[in-house]
Amino acid sequence: MTGAVSASRAAWLLTRLRLRRQLNQMESIWRFRTGSSGRTGTGRASSGLMILGGLVALSMLGSFTSLAYQSIANMQAELGSVVVPGDAPAGGDTERSGDAPGAPPSLQPIAAEPGGVIPRGVAQGATLAVMLLLAAALLIAVGNREITRPEWDLEWLVTLPLPLSTLVLSKLVERVITNHTAFLILAPFLSVLAWTCGYRWMAPVLGLAFTLVLLVLVGTAQILIDTGLRLALPPPQLRNLQAAMSIVSMFPLLLVMSMALPARSFVFAWAGALPDAAAWFPTGLAVRALAAADARSLALLFAMMTGQVALLSAAGVALVRWQLRHGVVAAGMREAVARRPQPPRPAGMGEPLAAWTPLSAVQRRELRLLGRDRNFLAQTLLLPAVIVGMQIFLNVRSNIFVGAMEHPANLAAIAFLLLAYTLAFSAFQTLNAEGQALWILYCVPHSLESILRQKTQLWAAVAAVYPVTIFAIAIALAGGISLPFIGCAAIVLAGVPIFAVIATALGVFGCDPLAQEVQRRLRVTYLYLYMMLASLYAYAIYASDVWQRIALMILTMLVAIALWQKARDRFDYLLDPSAAPPPQVSVSDGLIAALLFFVLQAIVALALMGRAKILTANQMWVAFCLAGAATYIVMRLVYWRVRPAGVPRMLDGPVGPALLWGAAGGVAASLAGLAYIEVVAALDLFPAAQRAGVKTTAALPWLAAVAIVAAPVFEEFIFRGLIFRGLERSFGVTLAAVASAGIFAIVHPPVAVIPVFAMGLVAAAVYHRARMLIAPIVVHALYNAAVIGFQWNAMKWLQ
C-alpha cells in the first residue's frame, strides 16, 4: 500500500500531465510534417490548412495590435490633452493633465506613488479598456463550451486520491493555458500599452506576463460560473442563459473597438467617470504598473497585482470546493427536457410545417432544431442584429434609411454585414452541428455533398431575410427606387448564395469530427478568413466602376467554387484519422497561380519603375514576362514535388491533330475578334481606349511579338490548364468553359472583354478536345497575332 500523495505533489503531477498533453499535440503536428509511423486516433489537418491557419492567426494578431494602437492613440488625444485656445493653457480643469495637442504627455504624480509616464486620464481610459476586455474574454470563454456537461475528464480525475482543491486548481491552470481567444484579446492591448509607456523590446514580454496573470482571474471566474451554474440550474435554463451570455459578450468587445474609431466615442466619457477605487483592482494595478516611472515601482505594482489575483483565485477555488461539496457531477440532471409526452398522434397527421412546405427532410430537421435549441436560435438570428445594431449605434448615430436612394452604399453595406454574420453563425456550422451523430448521414442513400448542399440552401434562404427586409423598408420609406440602389442591392443579393457556399466550405475545413469534444462553436481562424473575404466583397458595393464590380463578383464566385471543391474532396476522409484526400489539381491551384502572377507582376513593375511615376509599355511587358515565367516555374516545381493527379501537360501524344485543332480554333477566334474590332470602330463604342491601345502597339512592334509567344504560354497554363481543368473535374465541361473564360475575360480591359471571352471559350473547347496545352496556346497566339497585326496595320495605313 503506497503512501498518500501530498496536495502539492498531486498538483505538480496534474500540471505535468497537462503540459505533456500539449507537448504531444505539438509533436504530432511536427511528426505529420516529416512523415509519421504508427496508428493515430486523432484527426490531422493537412499541412496546407495549417499554414493557412498560421497565416490567419498572424494577421488576427496584427489587426488586434493595430486596433489597440489606435485606441491608445485616441485615448491620448481625447483624455490626455486639452485643446488650448491661443497661448495660455486653459484654467479650470487641473484634474486632467493639460497640454496642447501635439505636446508630449506630462508627468502626473499619482496618489502616493512615484510618478507615472502617462496622464491620469489616459490611465483611466486604459483601465476601463482592460476591464472591458477582461469581461469580453470571460463571457466568450463561458459561451464557448458545452456548459451543461462537466468536462469529460472531471469524472475520471475525481476517482484519483486527490483533494478537491488540487483538482480545481489543475483545472484552473489548464484553462489559463488553453484560452487562446482571451490571450489574443488581451495580450496585444497590454503590449501596445507597455510600448506607449516607453518600453521597446520589453513591451511584448511585459504584455505577456500581465496577460497571464489576468488570465488567471478569467479562469477562476470561468470555473466558478461553469460549476456554479451547472449545479444550480437545469440544462434548458442553462442553455438559455448561455445564449443570453453569448449575446451580451459582444457588448464589451464592441465598446472597446469603438475606442479605436476616428469619431469621438462616448466610452471616453465613462473613463472619466471611473471611481478612484478602480485603480486598486487588478486591472487598474496592471495599468499603473505599466505606466510606472521606474523599474522598482513596476515590480512592486506587479507583485501587488499578482498577490491580489492569487487571493481572489484562492477565494474562488474555495468557493468552487464549497459548490462541489455534494459531488462533482450533479446526478440526475435531465438534458433538454421535452414537453410532457403527448398522447400518440394518429399516423398521418404529421407536423403542420411539413404539410405545405417543399422542404426536404434535412431542411425540416434543421428548422426544428433551430426552434428548440435556444442557443442556436439566439446566435443565428439575434446575434447578427445585435452586432450590427451596436456598430450602427456607435458609428453612425443617425437614421440609416435617410438618403438611401441617392447614396445606397452604406445601407447596402449594413445589409451585407447582417447577411455575413447570419451566415457565419448558421452555414458555418453545417458540419459542426452534426457533432458525434455524423454517422447517421453515412447510412442514408444520399451523398454527404447533397445533404450539405440542402442545408446551405436553407441557411441562404434564412440569411437572405435580413437584407430583403432592409431593402423593402428602404423602398417603402423612400417611396421609390433608383438605379444605384438597384445596383447595390443586386450585389448584396448575389452575395447570398456565394457566401453561403463559402461559409459552408470553410465550416467543413474548420470541423474535426474526430475530436473529443466536437465544438459546436466557431473556429476563430476560419471565421476571421471568412470575414476577410466578406469585407473584400463589400468593397464591390463601394466601387464606382461597373467593370470593377463585375470583376469582384466573378472573382468571389470562383473563390466559392474553389473552396467548395476542396471541401468536397475532403468528404470521403472526414472520419478517417490517418488518410487525407490524394492531391489533385483543383481550381484553388489556378486561383493561387493567378494571384501569384498578379502580385509578382505588380512587384516587378514597381521595382522597374523606380523613381519614375509612370510605367512605360516596355517595362510593362518585361514585368509581365518575368512574372509569368516565375509563376510557371514555381507551379511546375510544386507539381513535380507533390505529383498530384491531373497536371496539365504541354505535349501529350500525337501533336499533329492538336495543332490542327489549335489552328482551327485560332482562326475562328481571330475572325471573331477582328469582326468585333470593326463593329466597335464603326459604332465608336470605346473611343479613348482604342486610341490608347493603338498608340502602344504602334510604338513597339517587337514587344508585340513577345505577346504572341510569351503571353499565350503563361496565360493558357493558368486559365486553361489549371482553372479549366480544375473546374472540369468536378463541375462538367460547359460550366468549366464558361467560368474559366469569364474569369479570363474579367482580367482584361473592358474594351477587350467580349472577344477575349469568346476566345476563352474556344480555347477551352480546343483544350478539352486535344488534352494538351499546345493547342490552346496556338489558339491564343493566333488570336493575339491577328488582333495586334490588324491594329498595327491599320495604324501604319493611317499614317
Binding site: 509511423s37 398521418g348 454517422w439
Partner: protein, 250 residues
C-alpha cells in the same frame, strides 16, 4: 448464385500500421455471418470500410454487386447499419430521429412515421419515444440504432457489436429481432466478441486476428478442423494466439 457481400483483397493501413490486410471473403444471401476477433483486430475498420466511412488503401468491398466506395449512395438503400456506439442528436426525440431516417430513405412522411411507430413498439421503446434521444440509456440507444437500421427494410444488415453493453433482457430482445430478420431472408453481417451469441445466431463465422482472416467456415466444420470436439471458445483462443505461439495452427 453470386455472393451478397464480397471482400476482394480489402486492406487498410494507418501510416505504417496495417489494420486490415488482404481480406478475401464471400458471404452468400440470407446468411448470418459472425465476424469474430479480439479487440483491435480490425472488425470495426472492416465494417466502416463497408459503409464508406473509411477509404480502403487497397482492394475493394462490394455489397450486392455495388462497390462500397464508388457506388455508395445506391448501396445505402440496401444496407442497414448499427455502429458500435451510436450517438444521437440532442433536442430530437427518438421517434423524430427514426422518422427522419425513414424519410431520408425515400419514404413519404406518413409512411415513415407509421413504420417508426411500429418499430418502436416492436423494440419496446414506446415509453421513451417522446424523450429526447440524448437522455437514453446505452441499451435504449442501441435499440434506437437498430430501429434506424431496420426502418427501410434493407436486404443486408451490418451490425457492429450489436449487444455490447446491453443488459440480458435487452440483449435477448435484440437477438430475437435479428433471428426474425434472418428468417425473413436478410443477410446479416455482425461483428462481436461474444462467442455464445455467435454460436446461437450465426451460420458461418470468420475469425480475424491482427487484420488477417485466420479461420472461416461453418461452426461445426471449424470446430472439427481446429479443435475437434471443442467449443467455439476453444477454437477462438487457439486461432488468436499471440504471434510467438503460432507455430502449429491449422
Amino acid at each position: 448464385m453470386s455472393d451478397m457481400i464480397t471482400f476482394d483483397r480489402l486492406g487498410k493501413t494507418y501510416g505504417d500500421f496495417a489494420a486490415v490486410r488482404d481480406l478475401e471473403l464471400g458471404i452468400a444471401r440470407g446468411e448470418v455471418f459472425g465476424f469474430l476477433g479480439p479487440n483491435g483486430a480490425g472488425k470495426t475498420t472492416t465494417i466502416r470500410m463497408m459503409m464508406g466511412i473509411l477509404v480502403p488503401t487497397s482492394g475493394r468491398a462490394t455489397i450486392d454487386g455495388l462497390d462500397c466506395q464508388t457506388e455508395r449512395v445506391e448501396l445505402k438503400r440496401r444496407v442497414g447499419y448499427l455502429p458500435d456506439n451510436p450517438m444521437f442528436y440532442d433536442y430530437l426525440r427518438g421517434r423524430e430521429i427514426l422518422a427522419f431516417v425513414g424519410e431520408m430513405h425515400g419514404q413519404p412522411r406518413d409512411e415513415a412515421q407509421k413504420r417508426a411507430a411500429a418499430l418502436l413498439d416492436e423494440l419496446a421503446l414506446n415509453d421513451a419515444s417522446e424523450e429526447y434521444a440524448v437522455n437514453y440509456s446505452t441499451g435504449m440507444k442501441k435499440k434506437l440504432g437498430l430501429a434506424c437500421a431496420l426502418i427501410h427494410d434493407p436486404a443486408v444488415l451490418i451490425l457492429d457489436e450489436p449487444t455490447n453493453g446491453l443488459d440480458p433482457r435487452a440483449a435477448r430482445e435484440v437477438q430475437e429481432r435479428l433471428r426474425l430478420a434472418a428468417a425473413q431472408g436478410k443477410t446479416v453481417f455482425l461483428s462481436t466478441h461474444l462467442l455464445n451469441m455467435a454460436e446461437r445466431l450465426c451460420s458461418r463465422v470468420g475469425i480475424i486476428h491482427r487484420g488477417e482472416l485466420v479461420a472461416v467456415g461453418a461452426l461445426d466444420a471449424l470446430q472439427d478442423k481446429v479443435v475437434p470436439g471443442g467449443s467455439l471458445e476453444e477454437v477462438f483462443l487457439k486461432v488468436t494466439q499471440p504471434d510467438e505461439d503460432r507455430s502449429e495452427q491449422a
